[in-house]
């Protein structure tokens, strides 16, 4: 029986972190700010100079409703059947007044090859000190703990999905997080009279250029390196034929193929010597390089103690490595 073991295999995952490059900024004057202005005129009549002021003009700053959602991990490398895979987002209040936002996640998005399966609790706030999904993170419950963000304030949100078992390498599945302002959304310029929060009380709230809602997608990208071994044998008997009689030799050839993306690190091929046969010393080879039987610095070794087996270290393999061929011979007892 042969086996192919990948020790410490790790696919190279395409993780892109938005390290401070996805920050959005709020507009300036805080909602509710009162702006006073007076003009002055100076003039001379005869020999008398005078300065006088105009009436006081007051302009109040309305609340602008704006929000921006950015994907902090735009692509997450996953494997088929994995559970609790996390997509991280940053939700920023880019308006000028404190605002409550509602969050919605959706994994049925057109343009991908599979739909990630939302976890029973699909949205969390990354609320504890450990980045990523951990025991201390608070689950989001719509209408119960909708985030309240001040102008320029933000919150990190984790969206959790499972990966279906049926996906194959290079499949992509999108998951989307949407945030919208509770005071109101709509076409930019839409006004909700008196519904805004200002520093001095209620003000008009006006929808800004984002429409007061925003969404961002994360791609779950299936990337898994796979090794397959294909074994063939050729029997050569001591009489020049191919009869599998006692004393005949069986030459085994195992071709290991690499498919998929990523790297199989520390791949090791192991094959047990079949029952009723005996390993022929010195016949172990990797890609035509002779490997010594003893456990030493080279890649291969033979162990006689039951279960007798040959073992070859293949190193780190990618599709660029090409097929690896292991050969060895036994004689039929």
């Amino acid at each position: 029986m042969q086996s192919l073991r990948i020790l410490g295999a790790a696919s190279v995952l395409a993780l892109a972190f938005g390290l401070g490059s996805n920050k959005a900024h709020a507009v300036g004057a805080p909602a509710g700010t009162v702006i006073n202005n007076t003009a002055e005129v100076s003039y001379t009549v005869g020999s008398v100079s005078t300065t006088t002021s105009s009436n006081l003009v007051t302009v109040t700053v309305a609340e602008i409703l704006d929000v921006t959602v950015t994907a902090q991990t735009p692509t997450v490398g996953v494997a088929a059947g994995e559970t609790q895979r996390v997509a991280r987002y940053r939700v920023t209040n880019t308006g000028n007044g404190s605002e409550t936002f509602r969050l919605v996640m959706n994994s049925v998005i057109a343009g991908d090859q599979f739909d990630p399966v939302p976890s029973a609790t699909p949205i969390y706030f990354d609320s504890d000190a450990t980045p990523g999904l951990s025991a201390g993170d608070t689950p989001y419950v719509v209408g119960s703990n909708d985030p309240v963000l001040s102008a320029d304030g933000f919150v990190i949100v984790l969206v959790v999905n499972d990966i279906p078992a049926s996906v194959v390498d290079t499949n992509i599945g999108f998951t989307r997080l949407t945030a919208d302002a509770r005071t109101g959304t709509g076409a930019p310029g839409t006004t909700f009279a008196g519904a805004g929060n200002g520093i001095s009380g209620a003000v008009d709230a006006v929808v800004g250029t984002t429409g007061a809602d925003s969404a961002a997608d994360t791609s779950y990208s299936v990337s898994g390196v796979t090794l397959t071994a294909n074994k063939t044998q050729a029997v050569v008997d001591q009489f020049g034929g191919a009869q599998p009689v006692p004393g005949a030799r069986i030459n085994y050839s195992i071709v290991i193929n690499v498919t998929g993306s990523g790297t199989a690190t520390n791949a090791v091929f192991t094959d047990n010597i079949p029952a009723n046969t005996t390993f022929v010393p010195g016949t172990l080879r990797l890609n035509a390089t002779v490997l010594s039987d003893g456990a030493d610095a080279d890649a291969g070794d033979y162990t006689a103690t039951a279960p007798a087996r040959v073992r070859v270290a293949l190193g780190s393999l990618t599709t660029a490595s090409g097929p690896q061929t292991v050969t060895f011979a036994v004689t039929i007892n």
Binding site: A29, Y43, G46, T50, N55, T60, I64, V206
Partner: protein
């Protein structure tokens, strides 16, 4: 019969009375009005777009506010050296070249004390001198070249964007 100081006292009082009357006559000669407006775009029955200025009560960041100052001479004498001053409102940024005023010379200030034209105002930055930007202006001044005649109105306007 008036003697000595008494006479002078009366004269002094009369003199004072005349002065305050003169002062009262010049104070309030110019009535200054200021108004803040925003542009409102409407589409008429023909589908044509028209814009008009409406009072700006509540304004959203990013909107341009038009400030208009009018000076009316309500006295029987002309007013000389008429100068209107307006600080750029807080939380607002002056729109370059938007200051207008028929018959005036417009200058700006970065500190409220020294005034100059857009070409004259400079700023020191990183050891070099550069022309000041419109968003750095703190005050605007309109100096009327001619006197303001009785019953006449002087007009000054500028625009600023709410930050």
């Amino acid at each position: 019969m008036f003697k000595g100081s008494g006479f002078f006292a009366v004269a002094a009082i009369v003199a004072l009375g005349l002065s305050s009357q003169a002062l009262a006559q010049t104070q309030g000669c110019i009535v200054l009005k200021s108004v803040a407006e925003v542009e409102q775009v409407s589409i008429n029955a023909k589908g044509e777009k028209t814009t008009k200025l409406v009072p700006a009560g509540k304004v959203v960041p990013g909107v341009e506010v038009t400030w208009t100052v009018t000076a009316n001479n309500t006295c029987k004498q002309p007013s000389e050296k008429v100068t209107i001053n307006n600080a750029v409102p807080e939380h607002m940024t002056y729109v370059a070249n938007s200051a207008v005023g028929p018959g005036t010379d417009v200058t700006y200030s970065l500190d409220g004390k020294t005034f100059g034209t857009a070409d004259q105002l400079t700023v020191q930055e990183n050891g070099a001198t550069r022309k000041a930007r419109a968003d750095e202006y703190k005050n605007i001044r309109w100096v009327f070249k001619d006197s303001l005649q009785p019953g006449a109105q002087g007009f000054a306007r500028f625009r600023a964007v709410l930050n």
